[in-house]
Point group: C2
Chain length 397, copies 2
């Protein structure tokens, strides 16, 4: 059971730095967040957000470490330590730009391995996850406690260790009379759905399928660009209905949540086969992009219709999109058109004071605040965990 | 500055489990320790000690991970998780045998990399250390907080991250009128010297040179055994004086502490050259072992004479030996003979209620207790750190 908030007498307002580096390995996002106790849970105010890119060499080392088939223990040990130095430098840069006292740090670390389904190791079968980054440097240099390594405790409780952003979604977005859907548009799309007047256990979260993954793969292959900036290329193409319909028959979309997707389902093989179908349908390159973009929009609208709408107590839902795909105007337009019949509005989280790029860093500031007050931070209905769990390790300065 | 003990009001007696797995990868030592506040620091009572060997497959995985030149990230991530499961199982087995409530756990983890001197990584130069083992399983299953990952904070403070056993040595062995020397006889020998009526800052610690490393290498090569059981082979040989004298001229022995030794100085190359000299001197295989054993004894007595005796305020010192070499009767006899002229007695730590094999596990129980009370656990004069540091990360149940 989660302890009731009032049973913790020491709760007080804190300024917390949230530090996030994601699997794209672009760099480090730092959010400075004021978190104060409130009658219905913590109240959150984003004070500042600053993105610090990784140095070129460190970025290469991070990318090379992820699920590496052959790497030395020395290299990973040094990377673990180096990341701690890099998080420290990123926070110091942020504090130079936005000076002020901080009380606590929540640092996600760098995921270099995540295996949500059990596999055999030396005679034992288990799922596992690994976020690295030595926190002793950060704690010593900044002089405040650091909380890190948030995911394992959820996994030990039977969860997938993700998503951990759900508590923030709940705290910042729940509404008395409207449903709220937080739709992240990264490589994979995932949503968190909050029914009107929800309690924490009413939240659901799951992956909706590919968001940018297929679009990016085709943009790279057909146009030699890393992504379809603003959705401009897709806007100049036509959706190929037969390919879209065939792709929407992928069993993943019908599977009951919770569920998670990855490169296994929607990676290079999927993109190649998708492109073949587009070619067979007589589509141009632009049409393939338009169709891939439509696949993202239809899969999200389909997920809403199938799995989310039934929970919304007949209230309309507001969609808040985040992630790189939030900048894809063609995708957002398609999504709006598909969701309008359901009475849903689409906006991005920036419209409520939470810039897309800051969101995860803010989430880990909140999780640090919860752990500091010995409260669980996972949302079992979102991660699939069997119970709430206090997340992470505390490193004192 | 270290906070004064009386500034921490919450200190209370606790039963702490200390969990240690060393670089020999034999298995896991668990110590159950009662620690109570005292006027001159914590009072320690060992309640139980239990050694749980690693399973064969896990042991192979641990050995393969250490400083591996080529390993997959998946393998290390799974090993990290698996170790957490193994620590949990070892503690549960211990608690089955010695039932009782515990309040806190201190777990060293498994060192898979330790680099005390700075090296370059992706454009930055730093020393680093890595103890793995995910603690979320242990905290959740046992239901009490776990403190782990003790070494990095000392290293961030400028220390070598080792030895961390010095605080225990100080707490358990300091004496008003006698000097105390804790001599560990592992692969490498290291000593902690505590002058009479010492304060924490009077302690020194350093590596004395090879303890079992050369003896073991020659025993393996000449007699196809892993070690010279009880020193029986060495007892049947004669020390070769010219080889002993030449070996004692190794510059390491004269170098001022703090200093650390390893396979770089006293590994296979050293053993090969040592054996050549023994052969050249006309020695038999048994003589080579006797001479290697004498090298250990002379290097320790020499270190005492040069670096320790001047600090002892003319008081006699008691030597307490621990580690595998404590069972080598020939070595202990040589050491006693060499130290007798200095008025030193030689005994093992078991004679004061601290069995050799339990010592490190007890040390990490004490360090956990110190961190729990927000007190530093490193001894800067022993590790070379520039300041005291609170050690480790806390994982809540």
């Amino acid at each position: 059971m989660m302890p009731t908030r009032k049973s913790i007498p020491t709760e007080r307002a804190m300024t917390v730095a949230g530090i996030m580096s994601g699997t794209s390995a672009d760099g480090i996002d730092v959010a400075l967040v004021r978190i104060a106790p409130g009658a219905h849970g913590p109240k959150i105010k984003l004070l500042a957000h600053h993105a610090v890119p990784f140095g070129k060499q460190l970025r290469a080392a991070v990318l090379a470490s992820m699920d590496a088939k052959s790497i030395s223990t020395a290299e990973l040990a040094r990377l673990n330590w180096h990341l701690g130095i890099a998080y420290t430098a990123a926070l110091l840069k942020t504090l130079l730009k936005y000076p002020g006292k901080i009380d606590l740090i929540g640092c996600h670390g760098q995921t270099i391995y995540h295996q949500a389904t059990p596999a055999l190791h030396a005679g034992k079968r288990f799922a596992c996850t690994w976020q690295v980054g030595e926190m002793a440097t950060l704690a010593a240099e900044i002089g405040v406690p650091v909380i890190s390594n948030f995911r394992p405790a959820d996994m030990v409780a039977g969860g997938q260790g993700a998503p951990l952003v759900s508590l923030l979604d709940f705290v910042m977005f729940r509404h008395r009379t409207r449903g709220r859907v937080l739709q992240n548009l990264g490589g994979i799309g995932n949503l968190t759905a909050i029914p009107p007047d929800a309690s924490l256990t009413d939240i659901i979260a799951f992956d909706t399928g590919p968001a940018n993954m297929v679009v990016d793969a085709l943009t790279s292959k057909l146009f030699d660009k890393t992504y379809d900036r603003g959705g401009a290329i897709a806007a100049s193409g036509k959706v190929l209905p037969t390919v879209l319909q065939a792709s929407m028959r992928n069993p993943f979309f019908r599977r009951q949540p919770p569920k998670s997707a990855g490169r296994e389902q929607f990676g290079a093989n999927f993109a190649d086969s998708f492109l073949e179908q587009c070619n067979a349908a007589g589509g141009h390159s632009e049409d393939a992009l338009a169709t891939a973009t439509a696949l993202t929009a239809y899969s999200i609208a389909g997920a809403y219709d199938r799995f989310v709408k039934p929970l919304m107590k007949n209230a309309p839902a507001d969609f808040f999109v985040s992630g790189g795909g939030a900048h894809n105007k063609t995708l957002i337009k398609m999504l709006q058109d598909l969701l309008m019949p359901f009475g849903c509005k689409v906006a991005d989280t920036g419209s409520v004071g939470l810039p897309t790029q800051a969101k995860e860093a803010v989430a880990f500031a909140l999780l640090a605040y919860e752990t500091w007050h010995r409260r669980p931070g996972n949302v079992p209905s979102a991660t699939g965990a069997g119970r709430p769990a206090i997340l992470g390790d505390i490193t004192y300065a």
